[in-house]
């Protein structure tokens, strides 16, 4: 399922490393850029590239937060639920996204655009509540701001500039 182009690119990346396993996370993050999540087939092909068994790669994939072993939407929204964000209303953010954009918590919106997941502290405690969308961070969330950011993504497929 991985394109030959992508495989070539990954092979090059692996060749540069001290040991091929070192690049396991990078390979998976890269594959996710193209295929959004790590399906079983993707895992098998990635494992082959890395010289690991699919299980060995899965040991890592299921360990990490930002590797998705289940299907996700085009934009994965991680809302921080650790101390500061929780104090500043992470639940309101979750609820707002969930109701306004029809995304079940922990699931994906029917249009396949958004996936909503909680995440532990993302280091934006000074701008709580915060969220990460495809590894871009947004802080000091308000319902209006969320609407702007997600609206823009849904409408124009463009990331809102950080404020």
């Amino acid at each position: 399922m991985l394109s030959e182009e992508l495989k070539q690119e990954l092979r090059k990346m692996i060749a540069d490393a001290e040991s091929s396993r070192e690049k396991a996370v990078d390979v998976m993050l890269d594959i996710q850029e193209h295929h959004l999540w790590m399906s079983d087939e993707a895992m098998e092909e990635a494992a082959e590239l890395l010289g690991m068994s699919p299980l060995e790669l899965d040991e890592l994939a299921t360990f990490y937060d930002f590797i998705y072993r289940s299907p996700v939407g085009k934009y994965v929204i991680h809302v921080c639920d650790s101390a500061m964000c929780w104090l500043e209303g992470h639940q309101r953010v979750m609820d707002h996204i969930s109701t306004s954009f029809n995304v079940p918590i922990g699931g994906t919106s029917p249009d396949g655009l958004f996936t909503l997941l909680p995440v532990c502290c993302i280091g934006y405690c000074d701008r709580a509540p915060a969220m990460v969308i495809n590894r871009r961070v947004y802080g000091k969330l308000t319902p209006e701001k969320i609407d702007r950011i997600l609206g823009r993504l849904a409408r124009d497929n463009e990331f809102h500039p950080p404020e």
Partner: protein, 827 residues
Amino acid sequence: MPRLVIDDLEIEVPKGTKVIDAAERLGIMIPRFCYHEALGAVGACRMCAVKFIEGPLKGVQMSCMIDAQDGMVVSTTDQEAVDFRKRVIEWLMINHPHDCPVCDEGGQCLLQDETVSSGHGRRRYPGRKRTYRNQYLGPFIAHEMNRCIHCYRCSRYYQEFSGYRDLGPLQIGNRVYFGRFKEGRLESPFSGNLVDICPTGVYTDIPARFKVRRWDLQRAPSVCINCPLGCNTIGNSHYRAVMRVEARMNPYVNGYFLCDEGRFGFSYTNGGADHAQRPWNSRISGADVTVEAALAESASKIAEISAIYGPGAVVALGSTRNSLETQSMLSRLCRRKGWQGPVWFNDPAIYRKVRSGVERLDSGIAVSMREIEFADFVIVAGADLLNEAPMAAMAIRQASRKNATIIVVDPRPISLPFEFRHIPAAPAQIERCLGSLVKGSISKDELKGFDSSAKGFCKALPAKFEEKESGISISELSGQLMSAKRPVIVCGTGIVCESTPAFAADCAQLLRESGKKAGLFYILPGASSFSSALLSGPETKTFSEILPQIEEGLIKALIATESDPFWDFPDRERLDRALSMLDLLVVIDYLPTETVKRATVFHPSSTVFEMNSTFVNQEGRVQHAERVHVGGVPIWGAHPPRIIRNFVPGGDHQPAWELLWKISAETSMLESVLTLGELIAAEIPVFEAVGHSKYPITEGRIIPENSEGSFVKPKASPAKGQTAKGFNLLLTDTIFASREPSAYADTLASVFPEATLFMHSGDANGAGLSEGDMVSVELELGAIQLKLSVSQRMARGFLFLPRQRGIHWQKMKEFSAWIAPERIRKI
């Protein structure tokens, strides 16, 4: 040597001993889950907490993580430590299901024991229990993840110890899941050890599933007789059936573990699931008779034939699955009665290889599997370990984990669960390769110190061996061998040339002369090849050499004792014709073999689980298997009948040696020989020499101190390159399916490897064949169809055919065949 005090008892232990082990030496069993002697300490379960009162450390610490040091005062009963251990049990139990009654581990569960002993009886945790879905892991191992206590023993055993990569921990936190990437059979042929190693019931033994509890089992120490290694087992029986086999710890042989063939290949003794596959009753011409009638018939017929045609018209066949008692009895009877034999082997070449190997072993050079684990350089010559002697592969893996260099010189596409350098040399080239490797490791100074015979041998060794295809530099490896201190040569006796076993011994000898602690380890065919070699002499014949006499009518009676020529004699039609010419075919066996079907008189013999017996493994270690149960038709599987009987159905079997003695009518024998021990010692003088005339012999090796190892001048190996176009077809063993008696175990039938013919990919390309093709191979007596597997990592010009039950390879005329290219076709 640190001295420490544990629970007011003082002990001195070697440096590096963990406190948990030091306590064990004092008889104090500190609770543990993750710690296992074979796997080492990782400190995951935190169960082995003890309090350090004095010394370099203070407070509650994990006894598995701490080396014993001078001045330590340790208390295992300190309240703080006891409370902590109790808490650990509480933590482990918050998610453990309430399923002991339906769990097969119940009654032999470490978690159960520790929970009871810690006093934890009531669940206080107010939350709900975590659950997991299970995976299908194949026909041997059942998976129940809800019971997991996350000690990581399974993944550590499976990945680190045994070297397979398809079972491990997934997820994080309290959701960690031990399983496979996808459901399916575990790849490891050592998967059964998960059952033993798991401290609770996550992995349970499927063949024994729901059949019996540990407390109802009759247990006895036994020995595995499937391959020559003689791994130690525990036989477990109930209701007249062997229910399961477990590994028995023997530090010199198998350690804590066992391969799946040895563990699950026992059901032949029960006659399979329906109990009908084993011949339970004595028979004359196919009809069931009493034991006495059959014995009388055999005795009178043998006497009659001896009287008419002379005793030389009677031949006794033995085999390499006979016990030492049976072999000694056979040997004695043949001599006293004047019968021909005993015959141990079918293939004369194999016989000579086994004999030359056994002759060359001496106690200085023979190594046990344990010693292989500490080798720093291992050369495997002409042996496919995973298929021929699986646990030896596990021993080499341990050496590999300690950074030993492993070289395999074998023409087959070998796969092993560790990194190794494979030189796919043709059988005729193995000596050349081995010789040049050894020669390169001998420095000039060392050469000077050698005596003349060693010097002569060394000089005659080939200097160069080119191995283009594998791209391996022999000289580089020689350099590594030069710096090795404990090299071991593992030599097979299957596909190698006849001179190779002795040559390997010479090489090991030479390495020893050069100051290394070199070892030699043979892989022999069958459980008791070693003793059969000891019992034979230069004039001992093989079955192939006896067969013409049968065909000529010189031999009228054959006594086959646990011996089935149909198992490994190639030309089945010829064999069938020859056996039909006999006046008498007496068969003593416990397996439903082809020979049993043709028997004139059949006597059921006891399996290893049903008698006390002795076996000598390939390094000369004498091991005793105790009787596990009396045997008979098992009761399980169907409702037991509502009748009262005074006999055991299927209980007619007797040890083969006893049957032999009875049919020989040799009543006077017990006058000269009083006990079995004396019988054995009388037949095999080395027993007398090492003081093994007492019976039973439970431990010890019977190889002489130092046999005169004389170097044989290596013969010039044939020039490389094929003359005629075609392939050399060789028979090879495969795990589960190639060995009596395990191949008769229906528990293994579902895992028999697919019948596959191996061919070099270059050869296959030339013949227009590719991986996975179904091919027809025309042998001399007919064609066989099977799947083709191609590999680059094997010798060119060879075909390897598994000698596996279910493949009708006995269409060959000889033990190997020459196949012209046109005789192998894709279908």
